[in-house]
């Protein structure tokens, strides 16, 4: 082997995926099976005791899913990963591995709305308390730290787009206080931003979006950066204390720098159950093979559309960090020089009514609540996802009556611009 390391595009196709050992199948087979036969009783005991590598039951692990895991671990530069049923499941199992009832974590206020709900409401049932901070002001994270703070959570590029987070500044605070730093890298994907290189300890993904990339499969990933030493750290008993589930095994000791990923699997996924189907894993893997090509095209198209809208007479503002005038442009140049992603928002001078008309006039853009599809997508948050909020709350959430969110797809950018033009003319 020469001293050249494989590049990102090579990893996107090959990492984790050798030909099938039994049949030689070159594409990763869909191991659509619940269970795997043991060689003998002793082999079964070894697998259940975490003493041998191998497959038992597809809730805990599956060979199609594990190719996806290794692929994403390689693309992010992590030590290991865990594939789960959705992005939300990835967040859930990550916090379940780190937090005890009564614990706190600090999260950036600008996040995907579903994550805000999950943190504010669902997690309250587990006694996990979110404390909100301002990702535009890293010192607000430090100010929020208490002895019960067990994690810090941000999105690298925050949904609904347009916000680039200064990962290094927040990572420095997390490191100083020895708190694991979790980054949701869904919107950027490892092609645009690799958070471990900026100090993240754990990465989560909604693979539903750009990793899968074709709008056909819900899935999630947790990636272990291997950088946080949980061994001997009493604050994280899942990792540092003898586990009764495994005869007193200490996972951080036994599995070293991929102990977090193993703990999320054998204490989280095994017991709580949000497993990814092998079929979804296969589709997401197929998507990832073209991730570098797609992300570049997504970003280039988005910049072209954002530039066009910024000069349109019916548009009051455009929030896209790829635009030179944008307040996040310098952070974008630092963290994602190849492009600022596919998703952004803009404001219509005509307000709520114009937003409603725009989405119904568009012919190529699909009106739906997702991002990261080959197809271009549009949503008017005030009349859909944020409908139940007061006008003031809508504005605070970045979903004021005039706001439209786009997820730019892989079509010809001229066709996207023409569709927006005709719909704006009629709005």
């Amino acid at each position: 082997m020469t001293d050249r390391l494989p590049g990102f595009d090579t990893l996107a196709i090959h990492a984790g995926a050798a030909p099938d050992a039994a049949t030689g199948a070159r594409a990763t087979p869909i191991y659509q099976t619940t269970s795997f036969v043991f060689d003998d009783v002793d082999h079964a005991a070894s697998l259940f005791g975490l003493q041998a590598f191998g497959n038992i039951y597809s809730r805990i692990g599956n060979p199609t899913c594990s190719v996806l895991e290794e692929r994403v671990a390689a693309l992010e530069g992590g030590t290991a990963a865990l594939a789960v049923a959705s992005g939300h499941a990835a967040e859930f199992l990550t916090f379940h591995t780190l937090l005890q009832p009564g614990d706190e974590f600090i999260a950036a206020r600008k996040l995907y709305g579903g994550s805000i709900n999950q943190f504010n409401h669902a997690y309250k049932n587990f006694g996990w308390n979110v404390v909100w901070a301002d990702s535009d002001d890293p010192s607000s994270f430090e100010a929020a730290i208490t002895p019960r703070t067990k994690a810090i959570f941000v999105e690298s590029i925050a949904n609904p787009g347009g916000v680039i987070v200064d990962l290094q500044a927040i990572a420095a605070i997390a490191k100083k206080h020895r708190i694991p730093f979790i980054v949701d890298n869904t919107m950027a994907s490892p092609y645009l931003i690799r958070p471990f290189e900026h100090g993240a300890d754990i990465i989560v993904h909604s693979a539903t979006k750009f990793l899968g990339g074709h709008g056909n499969s819900v899935g999630g990933l947790i990636v272990d950066g291997g950088s946080f030493n949980f061994a001997g750290d009493d604050r994280y008993p899942m990792l540092s204390k003898p586990r009764p589930e495994y005869g007193g095994m200490v996972l951080a000791e036994t599995f070293g720098n991929f102990g977090f990923a193993i703990a999320a699997r054998v204490l989280g996924l095994r017991d709580l159950g949000p497993a990814l189907s092998p079929f979804n894993a296969f589709l997401i893997l197929n998507g990832i093979e073209t991730l570098p090509l797609r992300m570049q095209r997504h970003s280039d198209n988005a910049l072209a559309v954002a530039e066009h809208l910024a000069n349109h007479s019916k548009v009051s503002w455009v929030s896209y960090p790829g635009l030179r005038s944008d307040r996040y442009h310098n952070l974008a140049k630092q963290y994602c020089p190849k492009g600022a992603g596919a998703v952004f928002t803009f404001g219509l001078k005509g307000g709520y009514e114009a937003g409603v008309k725009l989405v119904s006039n568009l012919k190529l853009f699909s009106h739906l609540a997702n991002i990261g599809d080959t197809r271009s997508l549009v949503i008017h948050p005030a009349s859909t996802t944020h409908r139940q909020l007061s006008d003031e709350q809508k504005t605070q959430a970045g979903a004021g009556p005039e706001v439209v969110r786009l997820s730019i797809g892989l079509e010809d950018k001229e066709d996207l611009i023409e569709d927006l033009n005709q719909a704006l003319d009629a709005a």
Binding site: L5, T10, T79, G248
Partner: protein
């Protein structure tokens, strides 16, 4: 041909004791047969027990060494109180103790006749002075690595756990053992 990234932790390319080429590790795991495992534990939850079991299943002749349980049987193997008490030649001494203890244990290994071919210190165990003494006698040294993880990584087994093996290959992994759940070290 495998495209191989160097051992996973830490990242880098040159051969030194932070960074072993895969061929070096594979060469060791292919050439040794008798492994004296110092610090063997009778507790199945301990990493040393797990590694002993795994290496036995892979066909290595593992000889547990631990003065605290000398004379007992561990996984069907007789436990010895020290390296000197082990009858017959030892190919590799695997040190499952802390970094400080690895010093005198290395000296015990260097007093063996014949000398072992390899001294391997477990993940998190590192003693550079001891390594230098062993290398001066022509013994290969590995530090801060786990033979089970390395075997799993080089064979591809560890990929089933979602671990980044840092190996890319367009060739099939090699099946070994009776089922489909054991892979061999020597992929084409």
């Amino acid at each position: 041909m495998l495209i191989e990234l160097p051992c996973p932790i830490p990242y880098g390319l040159a051969m030194d004791h932070s960074n072993y080429p895969n061929d070096y590790i594979r060469g060791i795991l292919n050439s040794v047969k008798t492994i004296a495992l110092v610090g063997a534990s009778a507790n199945p939850a301990r990493p040393s027990w797990i590694v002993t079991k795994y290496l036995l299943e892979r066909g290595y002749d593992v000889i547990p060494v631990n003065p605290g349980i000398a004379g007992t049987e561990l996984l069907g193997k007789k436990v010895y109180g020290s390296l000197a008490e082990v009858p017959g030649p030892i190919d590799m001494v695997e040190i499952f103790r802390n970094s400080e203890a690895a010093g005198p244990l290395t000296d015990e290994a260097l007093a063996l006749d014949p000398l072992p071919k390899v001294i391997w210190m477990q993940l998190s165990v590192r003693n550079d002075e001891a390594a230098a003494r062993a290398e001066a006698k022509g013994i290969k040294v590995v530090m801060d690595r786990c033979p089970k993880i390395e075997f799993g990584r080089l064979s591809g087994e560890i990929s089933w756990q979602g671990v980044n093996s840092r190996m890319l290959s367009s060739k099939k992994p090699v099946l070994s053992g009776k089922g489909f759940q054991k892979l061999g070290l020597n992929r084409p």
